[in-house]
């Protein structure tokens, strides 16, 4: 997982509320066997419409999504975060997130920034006035800046620390490397190993 401290990039104003995970990525894409390559699946239904905001030239290469309230509700699929990340988003801003989505985002290195709804409307206005303008999300200061506008966002300390350090769940556990190695040193010889492959001592079952 990449460390994040500030993200500067094109912001997409997504003026929709209640964007559930089915909208973010429809169920048919869950059959895939990879954890990457979901960029084409993101908002798949909406993207069929040429007018949809992600299809507009000004917003290509965007890395910040500014959405309405209740983003990421519904089914717990982790794929929703993968699709946003694969598309290139590093930050999603909303005034309210689905709980599981927010948890998954933190674990996968996608910054879910909680911004008051009035401030979201102000960001929308600024970026819509000049489509494609960059905004800056500063995780250290917990602020979002677009042009002259700077507003605060909320994120819990633990998730913020993990994002700043670039630590996913596995990365966190690997910090205990010494303790794990120490445990393995004392693992009894009778405990099972699958390799090398052994044949049964006696014939039969």
């Amino acid at each position: 997982m990449e460390k994040i401290s500030t993200v500067t990039g094109v912001a997409v104003p997504l003026r929709r509320s209640n964007v559930d995970t089915d909208q973010i990525i429809p169920a048919v894409f869950l059959k895939r066997v990879t954890k990457t390559g979901f960029d084409d699946a993101l908002f798949h239904g909406w993207r069929q419409d040429p007018e949809f905001i992600l299809n507009q030239p000004a917003y290509q290469g965007a890395s910040v999504l500014v959405a309405g309230p209740d983003f990421g509700t519904g089914s717990s699929r982790e794929h929703a975060v993968w699709a946003l990340r694969d598309y290139g988003f590093q930050v999603v801003i909303s005034s309210r997130f689905g709980d599981i989505f927010r948890g998954n985002a933190g674990k996968q290195g996608l910054l879910a920034a909680l911004v008051a709804y009035e401030d979201i409307e102000r960001i929308w206005e600024v970026v819509e006035a000049e489509p494609g303008m960059p905004v800056t999300v500063d995780l250290v200061e917990r602020t979002v800046s677009a042009g002259e506008l700077t507003v605060p966002f909320e994120i819990d300390d633990y998730t913020r620390w993990r994002l700043l350090e670039g630590l996913d769940d596995i990365g966190l556990t690997l910090r205990e490397e010494e303790a794990i190695a120490e445990f393995e040193q004392h693992r009894a010889a009778w405990r099972p190993t699958t390799l090398p492959i052994r044949e049964p001592a006696e014939a039969g079952n």
């Binding site: 205990e176 794990i180 009778w190 699958t194 001592a201 079952n205």
Partner: protein, 482 residues
């Protein structure tokens, strides 16, 4: 659960304590070491992909083993798999196993089979270890006195990368089954009765420990049947304390310890049973003498009754949610209250799944059907849990018994336990199944499942209606009286 050795501890607590890499503080989870990681094609692809993205290796390929089971066909196993999604999953597992250096038993290999049949059969599952797999029926392995539970795909990746899992301690529940089972009553009937008693959510948050004289009297295959279905009671895991039956089963298996290691292991294993005075967070009592062959009538494993009963009337259920669930279930199952279960006709009998597909299960089924013909119009499938079980059954001539009976003798896999491979029920078809889930559509869209033991499956295949071996004896006695 703490590492204090003064306080009497349960089996589950002992295994937990002995795998503590780091004790959690201030509400953070404990870090638990995993002794054995079983892998199959459905829940592993994204885990391997995650490792690849992060550039991480598998920490302990030598504690990891993979097999193909959910998507595999049980006929024509030498031909390419027809369904594209299934084929992709299998091919992905093969590529991942090769890339990460993981032992894989593929279709056609003699150790291939349902992951929960393969582990014990190789002697990899043993007392006092921790076992995980991206599959909820990992609870099966608890029959050896192991702590075994199912995990999700991100946890699969976590174990592959670190051989550990951050976990919060579980509560413990003792399931005391005292007495002697009557002939014709089996381990499957015990667990169906347990789930009917505590409900599909009754075990939530608990590790169940099955205890008592009826459990001690069971073989390992029977104990596995019981632990397998712990998850259907909502529990994360089920366990049985290891004893001489456990040791005898393990001795001489491919990966069981040998020589001095064996002696050291047995010495340790004997310390594992719950201490006298150890406290469980909850206790349940089941009278084994009173048990009869059991069957489910609904669409969750807790909706079961004795086979001699009638289909229950939802109107008599007090709890409004349960009543509504029962009404929905009867509608889906196309059953009317008050109908004797023994009058219900079936279209199919499925003998297989990780609940009941080991050699003893096949022997039990064969003991009833030997020398008989199946009922007309009933399709009977017998599917061994692993290629090795298949070979063993054939060495004993069981395949001939099944074929003479009119059953289809298949290759190893999950088969009709779930609609993920070609073995499925057609809409509206009714099946007596030795598997573990009777959810709507589990065995194929619109299919209707009655969960039963191998003996009940066999008797049902003979009579064409839900039946137990007792009904067969009765038929014989009646015929003799004439």
């Amino acid at each position: 659960m703490t590492a204090s050795s003064e306080r009497p501890r349960t089996l589950a607590e002992k295994v937990w304590d002995d795998h503590l890499v780091k004790q959690g503080e201030d509400g953070t989870p404990d870090l638990i070491y995993i002794d054995l990681h079983l892998v199959h094609e459905v829940t592993s692809p994204q885990a391997f992909d995650g490792l690849r993205m992060a550039g991480r290796p598998v920490r302990r390929p030598d504690l990891t083993i993979a097999t193909e089971d959910h998507n595999t066909p049980t006929l024509d196993i030498d031909k390419p798999i027809a369904d594209l999604t299934s084929r992709t999953q299998i091919e992905t597992l093969r590529r991942n196993a090769a890339e990460f250096g993981i032992r894989l038993h593929s279709l056609g290999d003699k150790e291939q089979g349902i992951v929960h049949v393969v582990g014990p059969q190789l002697g990899l599952t043993m007392p006092g270890i921790t076992v995980v797999c991206g599959d909820s029926h990992t609870s099966t392995h608890g029959a050896f006195g192991a702590m075994a539970f199912g995990i999700g795909t991100s946890e699969v990746e976590h174990v592959l990368a670190t051989q550990t899992l951050p976990l919060k301690p579980f509560k413990t529940m003792a399931i005391n089954v005292e007495g002697t089972l009557r002939p014709g009553v089996t381990a499957k009937d015990i667990i169906l009765a347990v789930i009917a008693k505590i409900g599909t959510g009754g075990g939530q948050g608990y590790v169940l420990e099955y205890r008592g004289s009826a459990i001690r009297a069971l073989s390992m295959d029977g104990r596995m049947t019981i632990c397998n279905m712990s998850i259907e009671a909502g529990a994360r895991a089920g366990m049985v304390a290891p004893d001489e039956t456990t040791f005898a089963y393990l001795k001489g298996r491919a990966h069981a310890p040998e020589g001095e290691d064996w002696d050291a292991a047995v010495e340790y294993w004997k310390t594992l049973p719950s201490d006298e005075g150890a406290e469980f967070d909850a206790e349940v009592f089941i009278d084994a003498d009173a048990l009869e062959p059991f069957v489910t009538w609904g669409t969750n494993p807790g909706q079961g009754v004795s086979l001699s009963d009638t289909v229950p009337d939802p109107a008599t259920i007090d709890d409004q949610h349960e009543r509504a669930a029962a009404e929905r279930a009867l509608e889906y199952m196309d059953l009317r209250p008050g109908v004797p279960l023994k009058e219900i006709k079936v279209d199919a009998v499925f003998m297989g799944s990780c609940t009941n597909s080991r050699i003893e299960d096949l022997r039990a089924f064969a003991s009833i059907v030997a020398g008989k013909r199946k009922a007309d119009g009933v399709r009977v499938m017998v599917v061994p849990g692993s290629a090795r079980v298949r070979l063993e059954a054939e060495a004993e001539g069981l395949d001939k018994v099944f074929e003479a009976f009119g059953a289809e003798w298949r290759f190893a896999g999950c088969s009709m336990c779930l609609g993920m491979n070609p073995d499925q029920l057609a809409p509206g078809e009714r099946c007596a199944s030795t598997s573990n889930r009777n959810f709507e559509g589990r065995q194929g869209k619109g299919g209707r499942t009655h969960l039963v033991s191998p003996l009940v499956a066999a008797a049902t295949a003979i009579r064409g209606t839900l039946s137990s071996p007792w009904d067969l004896e009765q038929a014989v006695t009646e015929a003799e009286a004439k």
